[in-house]
């Protein structure tokens, strides 16, 4: 086993622990935005797609790479925008509550 693989496996295992730790704190209420947000994050595979599409390794590679960039870009852009739209609605929530409370005390 070579050294770079060991390092990568270490990163993988640590990331898995961080992932489980962070995700398990997300309340049920936010599971849909969580899923859609992580969905956008895996669009980071576009990094691989860019390396392929820009590599000038022949027509086949370029065609495959370009399609991959298009897929990745729609995953990233669409994923983050959809999540933002969802969370925008969640964020409005505390305001009427605060107003009600203010009304109660006042």
């Amino acid at each position: 086993m070579n050294e770079s693989l060991l390092v990568e496996l270490t990163v993988f295992v640590l990331a898995a622990f961080v992932g489980i730790e962070v995700i398990s704190k997300v309340p049920t209420m936010l599971h849909t935005p969580l899923m859609s947000g992580t969905n956008a994050i895996h669009g980071v595979v576009i990094v691989g797609a860019i390396l392929v599409a820009g590599s000038d390794h022949g027509t086949l590679t370029t065609v495959v790479g370009t399609i991959a960039v298009a897929f990745g870009a729609s995953n990233v852009v669409g994923g983050f925008l959809v999540t933002d739209r969802m969370l925008e609605m969640f964020r409005k929530r505390p305001e009427p509550d605060a107003a009600e409370k203010g009304g109660d005390t006042g």
Binding site: V11, T32, S36, I67, L87
Partner: protein
Amino acid sequence: MSRTDAIGAAYLVCAILFIIGLRRLSSPATARSGNQLAAIGMAFAIVATLFDERVLSYQWIVVGAIIGGVGGAVGARKVKMTAMPQMVALFNGFGGGAAALVALADYHDTVGLPGHVEGKIIASILFSAAVGSISFSGSMVAFGKLQEMITGSPVVVPGQRIVTGALVAAVLVLCVILGTGHESQALLVVTMAIAFVLGIQMVMAIGGADMPVVISLLNAFTGLATASTGFALSNNVLIISGTLVGASGTLLTQMMGKAMNRTITNVVFGAFGTGSGGAAAIGPGGADGQVRATTAEDVAVMLAYARRVVIVPGYGLAVAQAQHNVRELADQLERRGVDVRYAIHPVAGRMPGHMNVLLAEADVPYPQLFEMDDINPEFPRTDVSLVIGANDVVNPAAQNTPGSPIYGMPILNVNESSAVVVLKRSMNTGFAGIENELFFDPKTSMLFGDAKASVTGLVAAVKAV
């Protein structure tokens, strides 16, 4: 600092922003900024990659990015909140497809080189190619089912399990052949094609009600395919992000499975509601078959003079887009002093937390939303349970009919409340395709019609009481 170091540093920033972003998703107040941080992280990673020495030309990157970016943006802006699950499925599929295509291109480049190719790289490429293909086709079928372009009920071929098993075996054998030194691009394409068919085959056999599990699982698949691409390219940001998503998808899948009291293998290979399981499911209540239909006026009186009303939303509410009308009804009732609560079953709807998003869109205050374990003890003290477009999550067969496919699934015990009103389009069975003896219970009355129309009628009737 060399260019490679700078790119590495940008990737590190990206990974940190992803983790902080996810961390901020743990509260509604910080969630939106969390998502924005993650998006900024993504921008870092993409811009840094453009400076990579291996990127020699930009025109095709720009073409792909414009097509995909504009498509994604338009889709994300135009989609109705009720169509969110299929949109997430679609984007997930694109991610999986991208991972598979990158693997294909990497293989094409790698095998052409003279000398020994590292086993790690081949293994990672094969994993991304196979899992990415399954995720792509599986997500497309899930999209089709949720969009109702394909039937929501399970579609099985004769000998479903044998066929699935054979496809899995074929993919594994081909991967072993390719992984042990046999270099063939044609064979990789064949492997991906079989994996593609496997994805279709698997998801076609799963019913609409199990979609929350399927979407979580496919999300995890794409995450792992991305992480594997990271191993192939020795790129840490891909490994980290892919693994984060893999962990998230796996956790959500487990939670959904637990909420349905079923194992993941049972969901994926169980082909719900077909064959003998479906026939045995008609509960004893079905025998005396008396259903009491009611009118909006009668229900309005019940609701207006109740002390406590619990609203149980389901997928039918999403389909009818009745969330705003339901909020209006709740407002009317609260104005009359009725204690209104919402009972959220963990697998109500078509993705995890689906009902929460819909009710948030209608500005329903959080404190009124109750999870299953918190609301179940309250049903005996509830005057009216108003079931809107939900079916299987309130089916008592889950508790008292051992032959039923949903037997053992925790449900919302609406039958313990003094009265139950079910808003339903018709007497059709739910996505699980099984009868619901709740509808035949003497304290249940049915208000037939489109959920939106029925709720609108109720609002008017309550005002008139």
